[in-house]
Symmetry: C2
Subunit: 331 residues, 2 copies
């Protein structure tokens, strides 16, 4: 069972893989599984993954066989384990608990070679729906406090398989970054009686210089204090703290804007590795007036080094206004 | 002038390079300058760096000429600029100020090919003293609130030059990570009336299973909730919040333990890239009963991906107890 351990000074939780611990010689150059090689996410290999928890498929198709277009499976090497009780306990001055949680893979398409931005509109929408379906389902498990959906694309961004996929981790504690984000938004709300993200959208749409693109329901911009060059945030224009409230027209417009934004990034930056993360509200805190769910895309162009690790201070070599201009003009 | 911008939700400051902004095509594969090629830190090239702010050298040597063994120079491409006023101001809902600060390079040896762990003991001690001298000097500038000393070794850890060096950045605000660290320690102190780091040292020395090595003044161990595999912390055994209080025997023992720890990491992990950071107390807060300065070494073995960026939750694939055992046995 993996172990969750808490830093006694700042309260940061860490997942420690206690069972199949990596030895020094295990840290090699990880290479991504390429096109043409064996891929456990490709149709025909359904029995190489744990049994699916969700699939969108042809009506006639059997479970865990081909004939699907989106398929969600538990991660074969999960960071957290689905079975068991938390069993919070002390170890002298330290705190720990069992590494209970869910770790799933959203296989975005059956076609190994078609990346998310190139999926037909309907298929991209299905990925957006799959995220929602999984949140709705996992939310019913009272042990979970948060669900983080994220994508690692390219080996430098942490991907180990090249078949288009994203991931989901449900955690038994609210992650520190999320707690800070929601608390920060709450402080602003208490002071101003307005949502900080709604204010941001208003100022960005008025100023215009950091906007990448927008449609009826969503806006994409480079944030004022972007940590990374060409970082892009996507926010729903109408206030909502919960991703799972997504309506049909919103799913259409979100998948459209996400596809477009990723295409622009690919064009301007020559297909860089990237991560995206979906920052939803904590599972037990919904309909928050102060929090606004959103998605952050972070192209992996620079290296995070000692200064950033030590200070939490980032150095961004590209002004957000210039990055937005490049992205806006790529069309 | 670089610009400091504040994230309006969580208050994270970011340094934005507004002048020589990197364009999309500037993000290539950065390669480290290798041995044998031209190196601006080598003796004879003193005029290729900005004029030195400190040097330990032969008595007869002229300023900015060869004949030194440790040399500190301003970074030629500084993240922050030394001249100017902060000029804090708003931009609608956002906050910004001028990117005023110091960014210096500590050239640890005149010999390009001798890495810090292999320096003669006396020379390694001098590097430890140089850190202290620079803190003492920069502390007198009332614009600075914090000084972070750090080392990036190897291209994957963010180094762009292979000549052994570390860096220092003085910032006009207290970095968020440091604020959290000092506040976390303060909360513990208020509850327990003891320093959390002193407690940690006591528990680690008693338990023993995470200890890497120790001497009269310092102890090196893998922290209980290590974020990274083979992460090592070095702490002074006697409580002190301020690095610049270092006494002669402590400098000797710190440089010895740091050299040893880096050698062990090099041996066990086959010379990995790494970062280290010196987490001193904020400049205007000294003699703190609750804070304990220390040094964190982070070998760069895994990739930080979407989950970590999104949640601030780390996944460490090597249990700290196993990592410590490997490091302890490497001798």
């Amino acid at each position: 069972m993996p172990e969750l351990r808490r830093d006694p000074v700042i309260g940061r939780w860490v997942i420690i893989s206690t069972e199949r611990g990596k030895r020094p010689s295990d840290f090699g150059k990880e290479v991504e599984t390429g096109v043409g090689k064996y891929c456990p996410f490709c149709p025909g290999n359904e029995d190489k993954t744990p049994p699916e928890v969700l699939a969108y498929h042809d009506p006639s198709r059997e479970k865990n066989k081909s004939g699907w277009w989106v398929r969600v499976v538990p991660n074969k090497f999960p960071a957290l384990q689905i079975e068991g009780a938390l069993n919070r306990q002390g170890d002298g001055m330290y705190d720990k608990m069992n590494g209970v949680g869910a770790h799933e893979v959203v296989i975005e398409t059956s076609d190994h070679a078609v990346d998310f931005p190139d999926l037909p509109a309907k298929r991209a929408e299905d990925v957006i729906w799959a995220f929602r379906d999984r949140i709705m389902d996992l939310k019913r498990d009272p042990r979970f406090e948060y669900i983080l959906i994220f994508k690692n694309r390219g080996a430098a961004a942490g991907a180990s398989l090249s078949h288009p996929h994203s991931q989901l981790i449900a955690t038994p504690v609210i992650p520190r970054n999320v707690r800070e984000l929601v608390n920060g938004a709450k402080n602003y709300f208490e002071y101003k009686e307005r949502c900080v993200f709604c204010d941001m959208i208003k100022q960005e749409l008025t100023a215009g210089q950091r906007i990448v693109s927008e449609n009826d329901d969503f806006v994409a911009f480079v944030p004022f204090a972007a940590r990374f060059p060409f970082e892009v945030w996507i926010l729903p224009k109408v206030h909502d703290s919960d991703y799972e409230d997504l309506q049909k027209h919103e799913a259409v417009n979100l998948s459209r804007l996400l596809q477009q934004s990723l295409k622009r990034i690919r064009e301007v930056l020559d297909d860089p590795p990237y991560n995206f993360i979906l920052l939803n509200s904590p599972l037990r805190e919904s309909k928050l007036p102060h929090y606004h769910w959103h998605l952050e895309i972070m192209p992996k162009l620079t290296k995070v080094a000692g200064f950033e690790w030590g200070s939490g201070f980032y150095i961004n070599p590209t002004p957000p206004e210039e990055a937005a201009k490049f992205l806006r003009e790529a069309d």
